[in-house]
């Protein structure tokens, strides 16, 4: 059983910058908008967009909440300065708190989802102002695990890093000279104090990436992964997550009535005619 997650970063870089340029220009645009969280995924997407479109054509938007870690803002600033790109900081506190206040029983999960969706609203609004498309920042690990807010951080016009596992995101980020503190800090959605991805998921990206690579890319069965030494409960929980969150990876199903239904037998690429 061979687990090889390392990628040729020069090839990845060439393909992903080509993808961003092609898909944005064919849609009739020349610019991009990226929500910069201060984390590695959005830093990488942003750096790729800059390489694809030029630094004056990428708007970085920082959207802190009052409890957001100061490091998040500082790390985003570090990248903005390094890339020399236009940026805006739009705080979401005053937008989300009235909604929080409407229900005394609101949970931190609900608050987190509201914040993620508020950021989507801000980004899409800035997309109109800047005349640029929203570039996604979801990696393959979190898409497979469903570790995202539907219509929140998962919303974008195109996603250059969605076929890279988190460990591959790190590798490519090194190649693009993303500042070391961004690469090295523990990944976090920063929706509440002390939240980390690995704490919440219950396993490290390094271990789950290896397992997902075997299950998804190499088509090994769950049993084969257990036989190869992966913990049985760990494998079962990952398999369950992948299945349970399929809905987050899809357009909502449409009930078929006619002879020709969008999604089933009305089939065209987005690049239709371009």
């Amino acid at each position: 059983m061979h687990i090889e997650l390392s990628i040729n970063t020069a090839v990845a870089r060439q393909i992903l910058t080509g993808f961003i340029k092609s898909e944005i220009t064919r849609a009739g645009f020349s610019r991009a908008v990226v929500g910069l969280s201060g984390g590695i995924d959005s830093a990488l997407s942003c750096a790729l967009a800059v390489e694809a479109l030029g630094r004056e054509n990428v708007l970085a938007v920082r959207m802190p909440y009052r409890t957001s870690s100061p490091d998040s803002l500082a790390h985003a600033e570090m990248l903005i300065e390094q890339l020399e790109i236009p940026s805006k900081t739009i705080e979401i506190t005053e937008m989300v708190e009235p909604l929080f206040a409407k229900d005394a029983k609101i949970t931190k999960l609900r608050k987190g989802n509201i914040m993620a969706r508020e950021r989507m609203i801000v980004l899409y609004d800035q997309s109109e102002v800047f005349k640029g498309l929203v570039v996604g920042t979801s990696n393959k690990t979190e898409i497979l695990l469903g570790y995202s807010t539907q219509f929140g951080d998962s919303a974008s016009a195109l996603n250059p890093i969605g076929d890279l596992y988190k460990t591959q995101v790190r590798q490519l980020s090194h190649a693009l000279n993303i500042p070391a503190p961004i690469i090295e800090k523990p990944p976090s959605a920063d929706l509440w104090d002390g939240q980390t991805d690995e704490g919440e998921l219950g396993y490290t990206y390094e271990s789950v990436d290896k397992l997902l690579f075997l299950l998804v890319d190499q088509r090994f069965s769950a049993n084969e992964c257990v036989e190869a030494g992966f913990d049985e409960k760990f494998v079962a929980s990952v398999v369950r997550r992948v299945q349970r969150f399929q809905y987050k990876r899809m357009q909502p199903p449409i009930a078929k009535l006619s002879n020709r239904t969008i999604g089933y037998d009305f089939l065209y690429l987005r690049d239709w005619g371009t």
Binding site: E4, N8, F19
Partner: protein, 283 residues
């Protein structure tokens, strides 16, 4: 005898035949300026690849009265052409097709015989399966054409070889996939490996022309190649970008290689036929 072969690894506009025809005519002019005798375009070069429900609206017939082919047939008076298109037969079946045009005539049309319908591919859903693998005569000798998945199977190149093809023209719209730490994508390495193997085993010229450009998230990787009857790489186009690769084929190399290595002479076709009959009848 020499053949100056051009391979045009172009990007296409999805479903816009007019725009793609313009690009063909532009590349034909470039190839003429470089004294090419034969210019090969990739699979579905007039239409784009992931056509899905666009298939019927982009279909054409390789005849003089067709608004697209009349221009290409006219151009074929100056140099021979291989173009990729959707062929609609008289009973409205749609095929992935390559046409060989020369001297204002359509010399041969190949319909793709293997339609990949697995993984990211869905061709069998939208296209009819071709049912013939035939070599044909050109002013450069006997030639055979295959389209992408056709040469992922060993039998079509083998049949062309036995049918007399000394120059095999492979065309593709091959999406790049299988990124690992290698400097080449797995899909590129696979195709390069088998192209070289066919040239070596069949002591023939094998040229491959693959398109470039994106369709949604798919990137076609280009990298046109020409291998000689010794299995040696004569020319290679760049990956991922449009290019015209022109390469001189010394067709006399067929004679020199086959004098040294008489694989064609010694091929035991009657044995193949006998065993094939046994194998198929036993099923």
């Amino acid at each position: 005898m020499k053949l100056n072969l051009g391979l045009a690894q172009i990007a296409t506009k999805l479903g816009d035949v007019e725009a793609n025809l313009e690009k063909h005519l532009n590349y034909i002019e470039q190839a003429k300026a470089q004294k090419a005798d034969l210019l090969v375009f990739p699979e579905l070069s007039l239409t784009g690849y992931v056509l899905q429900d666009l298939v019927a609206s982009v279909a054409h017939r390789p005849t003089e009265d067709d608004p697209v082919f009349k221009h290409l047939l006219k151009a074929s008076n100056d140099l021979d052409l291989v173009v990729g298109f959707v062929d609609e037969d008289t009973r409205h079946r749609f095929f992935i097709a390559s046409a060989y045009l020369s001297g204002g005539r359509t010399v041969h049309v190949h319909h793709k015989v293997y339609l990949p319908t697995y993984g990211l591919f869905d061709e069998g859903r939208f296209f009819a399966w071709g049912d013939a693998v035939r070599a044909f005569d050109t002013r450069f000798g006997r030639v055979g054409m295959l389209i992408c998945e056709d040469f992922w199977h060993a039998s079509p190149p083998y049949l062309l070889w036995l049918d007399g093809a000394d120059v095999m023209l492979f065309t593709s719209a091959s999406p790049g996939r299988g990124l690992n730490d290698n400097e080449k994508l797995e899909s590129a390495r696979w195709v390069e490996r088998v192209s070289k193997a066919y040239a070596s085993m069949f002591t023939s010229f094998v040229a491959h022309c693959n398109r470039v450009g994106f369709e949604d998230g798919l990137l076609f990787w280009g990298g046109a190649t020409v291998n000689d009857p010794n299995g040696e790489l004569l020319a290679q186009g760049p990956y991922f970008e449009e290019a015209l690769t022109v390469c001189e084929l010394d067709l006399n190399q067929l004679r020199r290689t086959r004098a040294r290595l008489p694989l064609l002479r010694d091929e035991r076709t009657a044995l193949v036929q006998k065993e094939m009959s046994r194998i198929l009848s036993a099923r």
